[in-house]
C-alpha cells in the first residue's frame, strides 16, 4: 500500500467544494440560476481529470525549471525576504499573461486552453474546468524566473497562489469593485474574458493583475448594456471530459489535412484560431452563430444525473488518494493511474452525452 501524504493540493479540494456549494446556495437565495447540473458535473470532472494528468505533467515543468535554475540561475534570493516573494509573484503573473495570451491567440495552444472556455455557464465550477493537454508548452514561458535564480519552491508556491486567486473571479454573483478594477483581475473583468460577445474576444488575459492587459492593450471593461454570453461560439455538444480536451485537436488536424500546401498546413497550427486559407482571418461575429441550443436546453435524464453525481464523488475520492500517494508510486504506476482515470472519464462521459442526445431525440 503506498504511503499517503497530505499535500497542499489535497487541502484545496474541500475548499473548492465548499466554495461551489456556497455559490450555489447564495445564488438560490438571490433567486438567480447560475448553475446547470450536468454542465457543473462535467466541469468538475474535467478538473479532476486534469489533476490526474497534470500531477504527472507538472513534474516535467518542475524538473525543467529546477534543472535550468541550477544551471543558469544567476542571483541568490533570500527566502525570508518579502521582496523575493513579491518580485517572484509579479514576474510569474507577467509571464502568466503571455502564457494565457498565447493560449488564446496561437491555434495549437488554443487547442489545449479551449477546454476551460467550453462551458456555457460561468461559476466556480468553470474555474475547475482546466485543460489536461496544456502542460507541454507552459513551462517555457516561466524560464526567465529560473534564469534569474528564483528557487523552485518559490516558483511552485507563487504558481499555486496565482492559480488559486483565479478561482474566485469565476462568478456572476459579484459586481464591479470600484478602484480594484484598475489593478486586479476581478469577477467583472474576468466575465469579459469568458464572454463570446464580439467585444469580449481576446480580452483580459491577466491572472492576478489586470495591469498587463492595460499595458498591452488587451483590457476591456464589462458593458452593463450588453449582457455577456458565455462559452464557445461553436458549441461543444458533449458532456465528455475527454472529448472536451480533444475535440479541437481533432478539428485542427482535420483542417490541416485538408490544406494543399505545407505553408497552410503549418498555419493551421501556428496562426490565430480564426485563420482560414482564403485569407479571411477575422473572428466571425457572434450574430453568425445560433443563439439557442437544443443540446444544452434539453432536460438531462435522471439516470445521467445520478451517474454524474456518483462518478464525481468516486473520482474526487480517487483523486485525493492519488495525489496523496503518488510520491511513493513509481513513474510507471503514476502514468498507469492517470491513463486509467482518463479511460474511465471517456467511458462515463460518452454515456452522459448519449443520454442527453437520446433525450433530445424523444
Amino acid at each position: 500500500m503506498p504511503e499517503f501524504v497530505l499535500s497542499p493540493n489535497i487541502l484545496v479540494v474541500p475548499i473548492l467544494i465548499v466554495l461551489i456549494v456556497l455559490e450555489f446556495g447564495l445564488s438560490r437565495l438571490m433567486g438567480r440560476s447560475v448553475y446547470s447540473f450536468q454542465d457543473s458535473i462535467t466541469s468538475i470532472n474535467i478538473g479532476i481529470m486534469s489533476q490526474f494528468v497534470n500531477a504527472t505533467g507538472a513534474v516535467i515543468s518542475a524538473f525543467m525549471y529546477a534543472v535550468i535554475e541550477m544551471k543558469y540561475g544567476t542571483f541568490e534570493w533570500n527566502l525570508a525576504s518579502p521582496v523575493t516573494w513579491i518580485f517572484a509573484l509579479l514576474l510569474y503573473d507577467f509571464m502568466y499573461y503571455w502564457v494565457h495570451r498565447t493560449g488564446h491567440e496561437v491555434n495549437m495552444f488554443w487547442a489545449a486552453h479551449i477546454t476551460h472556455h467550453s462551458s456555457d455557464e460561468f461559476n466556480f465550477s468553470t474555474a475547475l474546468r482546466q485543460a489536461s493537454t496544456g502542460f507541454y508548452f507552459k513551462w517555457v514561458f516561466y524560464m526567465p524566473l529560473a534564469v534569474l535564480g528564483i528557487p523552485v519552491q518559490v516558483f511552485v508556491v507563487v504558481g499555486l497562489i496565482d492559480l488559486l486567486y483565479q478561482v474566485w473571479v469565476h462568478t456572476r454573483l459579484v459586481g464591479r469593485l470600484g478602484w480594484v478594477e484598475y489593478v486586479l483581475v476581478t469577477p467583472s473583468n474576468h466575465r469579459v474574458h469568458h464572454g463570446k460577445n464580439d467585444y469580449c474576444i481576446d480580452k483580459n488575459y491577466g491572472g492576478i493583475f489586470c495591469t498587463w492587459d492595460r499595458l498591452f492593450g488587451t483590457y476591456a471593461d464589462e458593458r452593463v448594456e450588453e449582457p455577456i454570453v458565455y462559452g464557445l461560439k461553436k458549441k461543444l455538444h458533449s458532456w465528455n471530459p475527454v472529448w472536451s480536451n480533444l475535440h479541437y485537436w481533432s478539428e485542427m488536424f482535420k483542417k490541416a489535412g485538408e490544406q494543399d500546401n505545407w505553408r497552410n498546413k503549418l498555419m493551421c497550427f501556428f496562426a490565430e484560431p480564426a485563420w482560414s486559407a482564403d485569407g479571411n482571418s477575422a473572428p466571425k461575429p457572434l450574430a453568425q452563430f445560433p443563439a439557442t441550443d437544443d443540446f444544452f436546453a434539453s432536460r438531462t435524464p435522471l439516470r445521467v444525473k445520478l451517474s454524474g453525481l456518483a462518478m464525481t464523488l468516486f473520482s474526487v475520492g480517487l483523486l485525493v488518494f492519488y495525489l496523496g500517494s503518488k510520491q511513493s508510486m513509481s513513474a510507471g504506476l503514476q502514468i498507469f493511474c492517470a491513463t486509467a482515470a482518463v479511460c474511465s472519464f471517456a467511458f462515463v462521459g460518452y454515456f452522459w452525452t448519449q443520454g442527453n442526445k437520446k433525450e433530445l431525440q424523444r
Partner: protein, 185 residues
C-alpha cells in the same frame, strides 16, 4: 579587462547597428537582439563590471539554439511569415528555444553546436545558390566563427578562442544585414 571584452564590445556594437537598421525584419531583430544580449553580458563579464557568467552562458546557448535558426530563416525564407511578422518570428524563437532548453536539461551539449552549424551551412548554401556574394561571404564568416571557436583556435597571449567567434560573427552579421537592406528587408 581582456581581449574578450574588446571583441564582445565590437559584436555588441554591430548588433546594435543591425538591430536599428532592420525595422521591417522582426526575425532579424529578434536574432540580433539575442546575440546582442549575449555580447552585452560578455562585456560586463570580461570587463569585470558586473560578471554574470550563468546568464551569459544562457544567452549564448539561446543564441546557438534559437537565434541562429531564426537568422537562417530570415534569409532563406525571406518571404515567409516567420521573416515578416513579429508573431510568427516570436513563435519560431520560443519553439527553437524550448528545444534548446530541453537539450540543455538532458545534458545534450552538442545540440547547440549542431543547430548553429546546420543553420549557418544552410545560409551559405542558400547564398551560393542565389549567387549573392555578400550573403555568401556573411554566411562563410559565421561558419568560420563557429569552426574556429569549436577548434579552440587562439593566438596567445593576444587572442582567445572566443575572440575569433566574436570578430567573425560581427563580420558575418554586418555582411548579412547589408544583404537584407539591399533586398529592402
Amino acid at each position: 579587462m581582456n581581449s574578450l571584452a574588446v571583441t564582445d564590445s565590437l559584436l555588441l556594437l554591430v548588433t546594435i547597428v543591425v538591430f536599428s537598421g532592420s525595422k521591417n525584419s522582426p526575425s532579424l531583430r529578434i536574432s540580433v537582439a539575442i546575440f546582442g544580449a549575449a555580447a552585452l553580458l560578455g562585456v560586463l563579464r570580461f570587463t569585470g563590471l558586473l560578471p554574470l557568467p550563468q546568464m551569459h552562458s544562457f544567452f549564448s546557448g539561446l543564441g546557438a539554439t534559437a537565434a541562429y535558426p531564426l537568422l537562417a530563416a530570415t534569409f532563406i525564407w525571406s518571404g515567409s511569415v516567420v521573416a515578416q511578422r513579429w508573431r510568427f518570428a516570436s513563435i519560431f524563437f520560443v519553439i527553437a528555444g524550448a528545444f534548446g532548453l530541453i537539450a540543455s536539461a538532458l545534458e545534450f551539449a552538442l545540440w547547440g553546436n549542431l543547430v548553429a552549424l546546420v543553420s549557418v551551412t544552410a545560409l551559405l548554401i542558400h547564398g551560393i545558390r542565389v549567387r549573392n556574394v555578400q550573403a555568401s561571404m556573411g554566411a562563410a564568416a559565421l561558419l568560420v566563427a563557429l569552426i574556429l571557436f569549436a577548434s579552440k583556435a587562439a593566438l596567445p597571449p593576444y587572442l582567445q578562442p572566443g575572440d575569433f567567434l566574436h570578430v567573425f560573427m560581427a563580420l558575418g552579421l554586418m555582411l548579412l544585414s547589408r544583404k537584407a537592406s539591399l533586398a529592402g528587408g
